[in-house]
Every structure is written in C-alpha cells, then in structure tokens.
Amino acid sequence: MLPELLFFYFAIAITGLSLLVVTRRNPVHSVLWMLLLFFHIAALYVLLNAELMAAVQVIVYAGAILVLFLFVVLLLDLKKEVEDEPYVDGWPVGIALALALFLSIGVTIHALEPAAPGAYTVAKIQSLTHPVAVGEKLYTEFLFPFEVVSMVLLVAVVGAIVLAKRKLKE
C-alpha cells in the first residue's frame, strides 16, 4: 500500500510542478520549480528500484544542468520572459487534444498486460550492483545506440553554438 501511496504523491506532484515550471512568468522561479521537479522524478526511480538512475538524475539534472540553467538566467538578467504574439492561437484545440489523449490512455491503461520479467531481476541486480548491471548492458547489447547518442550530443552542442553565437567564421 505504501509504495502506491508514495507513487501517487510523486506522480501528482510531478504533474503540478511541471505546470508551475511552464506557467511562471519569472524564469528564476521556473528554474527553481524545475529543481524540485527533478528531485521528485529521482524519487520515482527509487520507487522502481533504480537507484543508479535516481543518483544520475540528481547529479546530472539537478546538479549540473539546472545550475547551468540558473547561470544563464542570472547572466542574461531575465527578469521577465520575452513576450511575443503566439504563433498559433490554438489553446482550445490543444486542450481538447490533450484531454482526448489523457482520456484514451486513462480508459485503456487497465488493459496493460505486463510482459514476463527479463533476466535482470531485482535480486540479480542487487548482487551485481547497479552500475555493473547497467554498464554490462550498455556496452554490449546497447553499444550501437550508445555510440549514436554521442553524435546526437555533439550535434546539440554544435547547433546551440551556431544558433546563439553572434559572429561565426565566414
């Protein structure tokens, strides 16, 4: 019973916090709500017995990425968000679609028949320790996507510089 209660608390809190993140006018507030959001997500990982994921979530997202966000916000001195006319005026349609999606998942989710658990049971992972279990999979079975992700990250860095740097070499 307790895990379910905890799950519902975290799930509801995550939804509420994400709404706060996107609706705050002050970017600093948004970023701080996001910090809280990341901690709640980390807690969900703990509930799923994924301690390594929880640690990574806290260290990488809450620790590194969010601090970077805060730096940018503070450096740019964004007191208020830049206001612009919305490109498309589609709030009613958007809300209707979101509700439709929510309802269709809501009424069908009971039909989920989870697959039989794989080779990595909780006991096995505990005996191997988490980093070993994740590493084993990541560097064998998932080697290829793992390598492609490195290209994705490179493109993200290059893209950010291209779009943001004022003067590029001709």
């Binding site: 490109y87 794989g118 064998t140 996507p145 992700v149 493109v155 893209g159 291209v162 590029l168 001709e170």
Partner: protein, 478 residues
C-alpha cells in the same frame, strides 16, 4: 541470420559518414570557403557511397542494426538528396553571409541519422537515429540566423518535432511494457504469441506510432508544421527537408509496421488508409490557394506523402518497392524544382511568390523549361519520372485490393494538375514583370544540381527499368 555482438564491416558507410561529418566540422574552422566546403562534403558523400556499394548484408550490434537491400536503397536516396543539397547550398548561403562550415557538418550528421534510421532493427536505435536527424535539421532550418522567419521555422519545427518524439517514446514504452522487447522482430513474435491484436492499449500505442511517424512524413492531420517550416527555412534546406527526412520517415514507418506490427496489419491498414486520403485531400486542396511557391511546394509535399502511403498500405513487397522508387524519384523532382528557385535567387532575396515567375519563358527560357519539366513530373505526366513513381504505387495498391483508395488518389492527382500547371501557365502565357529581367545567377554547382535532377527525372521516366530492377531485388531481402 548472424547475430554477432558487433561487426563494423556492416556499418562501414555509417562510420565513414561519422568520420566525414567530424572532419567537415574541423575543416570549417580552418577554411570555410564555399568551394572548399562543398567539394569536401561531396567527397565525404562520395566515399560513403563507395562503401555503401560493397557493404555486406546482415544483422549486427546484438540485433540493433540491419543491413539489407531495403536499408541500402533508402541510404542511396539520402545520399542523392544530400549531394544535390550541397550543390545548391554554397552560393545561396554565401549571398546571405551565412556560409559557415557547420552547415555542412550538420547536413552530413542529418544524413547519418537517416542512415541509422533506415538500418534500425530495434526501436532504440530507431529513436536515436531519428533524434540525430531531427536535431540537425532543426538547426539547419534556423540557419539564416538573422532572419525572423528562419528562426520561427526552426522553433516551430523543434517544438512540433519534440512533441512527436514524445509520442514515439510513449508508444515505444507501451510496446516494451507489453512485450518486454524493443527489437522489431521480437515485438512481432510477442504480439502474436500474446494475442495482443485486440488489446485497446495496444491500439493506443499504434495510434501514437501513426501520429509520430505522421509528423515526420508530414501526413495530415499531423502536417500543420510543414508549410510554415518549409517557407521560413533557407531554400536549400527546404529542398533537403522535404525529401530526406520524409524518405527516412517512410523507411522506419514501413519497417516498423510491416515487421514489428505485422500482426496488427488489419488495424493499421485501416488507420493509414484514412490518413492517406485525408493527407491527399488536405495537401492538394490547400495547395490550390497558395500564392507563395515554397508554401505551395510544402502542400504538394504533403500530398506526395499521401500517394506514397498507398504503397505502405498495400503492405506487399511490391508496395514497399514502389514506395522506395517513389522516394528516389521524388528526391530528383522536388530538389530539381527548388534548385530552379535557387537559380532565380535575386542577390540574397528569395524568389518565392508565384507572381515572380510571370513570363519566365521570355526572360529565362532555359530555367522556365526546366521548371516545366519538374512541374510535369510532380503532376505525374509521362514521360517524366513522376508518372512512373505514381503508376507503380497505384498498381501495387490496386493489386492489394485497395481500389477505392486508388480512385481517390487519381482524383486528387487530377486536382493537383491545376496548381502545378498554373506555374507553367504563369511562366509561358503571361508577360514578364518589368523588373524581372535581372541576370541569372551564375553558380556552376547549382546548375550541375539542376542538370543531375533533370537527368534523373528524364532517365527514370524513359527507362524505369533501371530503378525498378534495383528496388525489386532490394525488397526481397526485407
């Protein structure tokens, strides 16, 4: 099937492309003149093509990566469209003071992403390939950094693309929840073993797959982003986006549906049929009222996604090979049409209003004639390649028993003749505007691109066996 842990020989073209992309990134730091960068990029694409010719077929990386005739054919489409895009880009970017080395690195990394998608035998590798392609194209769309419309285009593409990626991930996680697998063949086996065909939540996952891939190929009702993004992006990027990512979208859509979701064929056939008719209707009808050529070609590109979907709906080997042909032909004719627009470029301003083409046959007869051929091909008039593409898609759909769909497709093709031939009418039957008599841009590489596109359209149109032979043998290894 050989399931080794990894065998680099299978992924040689991807490795070459990765190395080439990194090399271009470095080269751009030292020398970024348009000639150097274009030649270097073409060289990278050329070496990739050479390695693609001799790549062995099989499965590697623990079943994540598959090389077969199907993936190889699509990789050719990507390489052709990337090469043509490089040819038309240099001059265009330079006249806008935005010729940076990063452009070529991003173009090749987008191509790499598409190649990974075409070879993906697993939902995870499919997703990372898709993200690699998508991230690169978002940046390319916003490459004219000082123009608001280019920024808007990139932002819209990014937001809609992220949303569709989210849907795709949700669908993947649902399928994983049901089957415990991410490999396409393993999912198919688990779905039919577990008798999941009637499960409502599996239907939700299927819907999300349709929506996510629908975004990528710009099929209605997931097409909303396309006109704005295509209009605002730099014209060479528009040419690339309307061909490469679309073909890659078709490659994964057809593979996921005919392999992983094969047990659900009745369901997805119905879903895709609705999407196809709606796409053809939206694309062709809205294109009628456009006054901007880039927007018109965007709606035309939506309509073409509708025609090509017919081949997937057929679900047969013949249908798949007709989609493959269609994508190759579409690459030639669509990039050809955009190249003519780029050649008409007036010192850094896009020629993009239909009005601008008035009387082109008097001022620039050669360009007008080229545009005429590309418009004929997009309409599907013989002896151009466009006819061959449509013909085989329709025949495949007919043989699979989708007569109704083909009738719709033919009706909408007839409607499309109006807006394609209106371009021809403007060029040949109207007097030129007085200010339209500027000199033609002398860009050798853009001319080369148009010539290659023209050759593709005419040669495939007159001797379709060249292409059909390749795709027929290719599809058997699927």
């Amino acid at each position: 099937m050989d399931l080794e842990l990894w065998n680099l020989a299978y992924s040689l073209p991807e490795l070459v492309m990765t190395g080439g992309s990194l090399f271009l990134l470095l080269l751009g730091v030292f020398r970024s003149g348009r000639h150097t960068m274009s030649v270097a990029t073409l060289l990278v694409i050329g070496i990739t093509a050479l390695s693609l010719r001799n790549v062995p077929e099989g499965v590697t990386f623990s079943g994540m990566f598959v090389v077969d005739g199907y993936s190889n054919f699509f990789k050719w489409v990507f390489l052709v469209s990337a090469a043509l895009t490089v040819l038309v880009s240099g001059r265009y970017l330079e006249s806008r003071q935005e010729n940076h080395g990063e452009y070529y690195a991003l173009l090749t990394s987008a191509t790499l992403g598409m190649m990974v998608m075409a070879s993906a035998a697993d939902l995870i590798s499919l997703y990372v390939g898709l993200e690699l392609m998508a991230l690169s194209t978002y940046v390319l769309a916003g490459f004219l950094r000082n123009r608001t419309r280019s920024n808007e285009s990139a932002l819209k593409y990014f937001l809609m693309g992220s949303f569709s990626s989210g849907l795709l991930l949700y669908a993947i996680s649902l399928m994983y929840g049901f089957t415990g697998k991410t490999s396409l063949t393993a999912i198919a086996a688990a779905v039919s073993d577990g008798d999941l065909a009637g499960n409502p939540l599996v239907m939700v996952a299927l819907l999300m797959f349709v929506a996510a891939f629908g975004f990528k190929i710009a099929a209605a009702p997931f097409h909303m982003w396309a006109p704005d993004v295509y209009e605002g992006a730099p014209t060479p990027v528009t040419a690339f986006m309307s061909v490469g990512p679309k073909a890659a979208g078709f490659a994964v859509l057809a593979r996921v549906f005919t392999v992983a979701l094969e047990p659900l064929q009745t369901e997805w056939t119905q879903l895709l049929s609705v999407v196809a008719v709606f796409t053809m209707a939206v694309g062709n009808v809205i294109a009628l009222s456009q006054t901007n050529i880039k927007r018109m070609l965007a709606y035309s590109s939506i309509a073409h996604a509708g025609y090509a979907l017919l081949g997937v709906i057929a679900g047969t080997a013949e249908g798949l090979s007709s989609v493959m042909n269609y994508m190759m032909i579409y690459a030639f004719m669509n990039i050809g049409a955009f190249s003519v627009l780029i050649l008409l470029d007036r010192q850094g301003t896009d020629v993009e209003q239909l009005e601008d083409l008035k009387g082109l046959s008097k001022t620039k007869p050669v360009l007008a004639f080229l545009m005429l051929i590309f418009m004929f091909s997009l309409t599907g008039i013989p002896p151009t390649a466009g006819f061959i593409g449509k013909f085989y898609v329709f025949v495949a759909a007919l043989k699979a028993g989708h007569t109704g769909l083909v009738i719709w497709a033919v009706v909408f093709s007839a409607i499309s003749a109006y807006y394609y031939l209106r371009v021809v009418k403007l060029m040949y039957m109207e007097a030129p505007a007085p200010e339209a008599t500027g000199p033609v841009e002398v860009s050798l590489s853009t001319r080369l691109a148009v010539t290659v596109a023209l050759a593709g359209v005419l040669v495939i149109g007159l001797y379709p066996d060249i292409l059909l032979g390749v795709s027929m043998t290719a599809r058997q290894l699927f």
